[in-house]
Each structure stands twice: as C-alpha cells, then as structure tokens.
Amino acid sequence: MDSDKFDRIVLDLLYGELDELTTAAAKRHMEQSARARDIYAHFRATRQLGVLPAHTPPPDFEAALLAREARVLAELPVRHRLGRVVSKLAGYAMRPQLIMAALLLLMIGSSLMFVRTRPALHSAVQVTERGAPEGDVDVVLPLTPPPSSSAPLAMAPSEPRAAVKPESPATPRGTDEANAGAAPDAPGQDAFEQALQIYRARGYVEAQRLFERLSRSGHTRAAEAAFYAALSTRNIKGCAAGLSAFARVSERFPSSPAAHDAVLRAARCQEQLGNSDGARSGYESLLRVPTHARRAQQALSRLANEQAAASGATP
C-alpha cells in the first residue's frame, strides 16, 4: 500500500469500514511509515475527544409531535389515506393463516355439494347374492327330474326326492328329529339350506362337516348332502381326494341323481388329472341317464376333439 492509497482509506480505517485484508494492509503500512502513523494518530485522537454533548429533546417534544402527527394524517390526500387502507387490508390478506383459512372454507363449502342427508327408504337399494360358486355353475342338481316311465333307470322307491319337491307334511320326520340332538341345529330343511349357504360362501370346511352330518343322519336330502360334502372335499383337497369322495356318493346312493352328478364330477376330475380313459368311461356310463346324457355326450365330444387335435399336432 502506498501513501496515496492510505490517505484515501484512512477515514474508512478510522471508522471501521474496511474489510479485514485492507485493514491489515493499512496497519502494515503504518508500521513502515511514520507519516501514516502520525496522520492516523491525530485523526483517532480528534475523533476520541471530539464527542459532542448530547441533549435530550424538551419533555413535551413527543406529545406535541404525536398531536401534530394525528392532524397531519387527517390532512393527507384521500389517495394516500386510501393507500393506507389498502395496505392494511393487503397486510391481512397476505397472512398465511388467513389464506389457509380461506382455502379450508372453500374446500368445506365445495364438499357440501357432495354431502347428502341419510337416504330415504324408497331410495335404498338392496343387493342379494344369488347363484352357485363359479366352479359349480353346472352342478345345479336336477331337482325336478320328470318322472318318466320310459326311463331306463327307474328310481328306487327309497330315492330321496325331497330335494326336488316340497317336503310333504306326511313325510316321516322321526329320523331327523331323532338325530337333531347331534347337530347344533335340527337337521331339517333349514340345516341343509344353512349348509348350502356356507358352501356358496366358500366356507368349504364347515360346509363339508355339516353336509357329512346331514348325509349320515338319514335326512331326506342325504344324497345331496353327501354330494356337496364330496364337492367340498374336492374344493378343499383337490381332485385326487375328490375322486374317492365322489365314488363314496355313488356307492352309498346308487342310481340317485346325486350319484350321477358324482359320476359326472368324478369324470371331470379324471380329465383334470390327465386320465382321459377314466374320464371317458365315466361319461359313457352317464349316456344311459336321461338327465345327464346330453352333458356326457358333450364332454365325450370335447374329449374326442382334444384327442384329435393332440394327435394332429403331433408330427
């Protein structure tokens, strides 16, 4: 730093307005220059002593000023006073809390359009699930097989037909009532319907237990109950276990509609297990049953087509 530059910055140095680097450079210059030391010392001493005595304003200074301030405000042009009002309102409007509150009110107001009172009874919609589970759509039992004298397989007199016609008041209920104590519910029509509802709700374990109990209780729909128990077994354990369950239905209730359904189901299981011969044998046995002949024929045709396609695809 030279003397000229020092002269330019000496006041900044005196009043502490220099950055650290320049301050250090100025101090280094003063260490080397007696002239610079002398200039700075005199300025510093003058400033140190040149303190003016401070006087306080008169006691009424503030009060008189505020009184005049009110008058000056009242005399401000309208546009300036309006500006103060606008500024004041804008100050409130710009507060985040007010903005958030306004947004909240807007959201609540707009959502009221979608709020309705409790719907009236006439507008209530009730939905009832009907039908069988997806896998059992075609399992609906032929509840009303037309009794035909020309049927090659006449039903045995002891066939549990109660499933296809309303229970006659004359139907002996002694067996059901005797077995009622074994079940939580009386094993009557309601018990069968209850088990069926559980089955349709895919509660297969509970449905199997209830249907097994009904099938063993001598219920008028024991054959159907046995069939549903077998279906439940298949749904729980798969086709391999289902085959034996369906076979037991055929053995216990031979020539019954439930037995035919069991054969049909067993044949489909054979298909799924890859045993085409076993499936074909089952379907062919149903060709003699009028109620199942059509579906058996369709299945046989499908099997033949698949076999032909498989042999055609094989080089």
Binding site: L11, Y15, R47, V51, P53, H55, F61, E62, E69, G83
Partner: protein
Amino acid sequence: MIQTSEREEVSDQALMLRYQRGDRSAFVTLLRRYQVAVYNFVLRQLGSALSADEIAREVFLGVVREAPRFDYETPFSTRLFAIAHQLVRDERQRMPSRQLLQRGPSAPESSRAGAGSSSRLRGEAALEDSIVSAVEALPDDQKDVFLLREVADLSFSEIATVTRQSETAVKIQMQHALQRLRLALQDFDEYRRALR
C-alpha cells in the same frame, strides 16, 4: 458521538410497514429510537434550541407525510436524515444572517463541570466548549458531513446519499472537518494523552 438507544429487534423497515398499515405505536417506537439523534443533529446545525425543537418535529412529520410512499429500498435512517438535512438547509436560507447561530443550549450548569468545583472539571468544560464551538464554526458542508457521521451515525455512502455528493467528496470534507477540530483541540492535555 451521541449514544443512541439500543436497537430493538424490530427493524426500522418493519416498523414503517406497520405504520403504513395504521399502527401508530410503530411510529412512536421509531420516534423514540431517533428523536435524540435528530434533535442533536438539528441543534448543532442551527445552534438554537427553539429552532431545533421545531425543526426536529418537522423532520418526523415529514416522515409521516412520506409514509404512504415510503421507499423501502432506502434505509429508514438515511431517509430520515435526508429530510432533516433538507429542512436544515431551508432554515439556513431562511435566516442567512444566522441570528440564531450562537452558542447552542448547553447542558444545565449544574450537570456540567460541577460549577467550577475543581480545575479538572473546569478543564473538561473548557474542552467541551471548544469542541462545540469548533463544530459550529465548521463550514456548512463539512458540518453536515461531520454531524451525519458522528451524531446520526451514518456510513460515508449513506452520507453521500443524503448530501447528494460522491463518497470521495464526503470523505474529503470529513478529513477537513477533523483537521479543523484538531486545531481546536491540540492544545488540551487530553489531546496529547490521546495521541499516545
């Protein structure tokens, strides 16, 4: 240098904004923050307590009038002393003969120099009188710069804004002012002690 009261946490700009919105208590805070500095600045310029009282009030009333269009990019203190500087210049022109430029209202005798109770206190009073006289005898431009620096505590750049000069010109005037004061003070023992 006049010790101004310690700044509160609220900035001058924030107080002006509040005052613009109608909060008069913000103006009172600004008034109490600057009234001593403004009053002494005007008093040392004009040398009359009566004129200083009136002009200092006008300075703050100028702030009131400017509040609706206050420029927030300029520090409040700069604008405040710009108003004070202008009013002082107007007052000087109004009274060119400087009839009022006499010895300014000094502190009560009882609070100064102990009414000659000791030679040391008499010496301090003499030093103080010399300082006041030397400042009042400064040329107007140098006095403006000196008082804006020492009483208003503005930086040189802010003084340049207030006086509408370059910063270099302001510093040159300040150097001249300090050299004149030095001549008035150099015969005092306190000055020689301060030099060491």
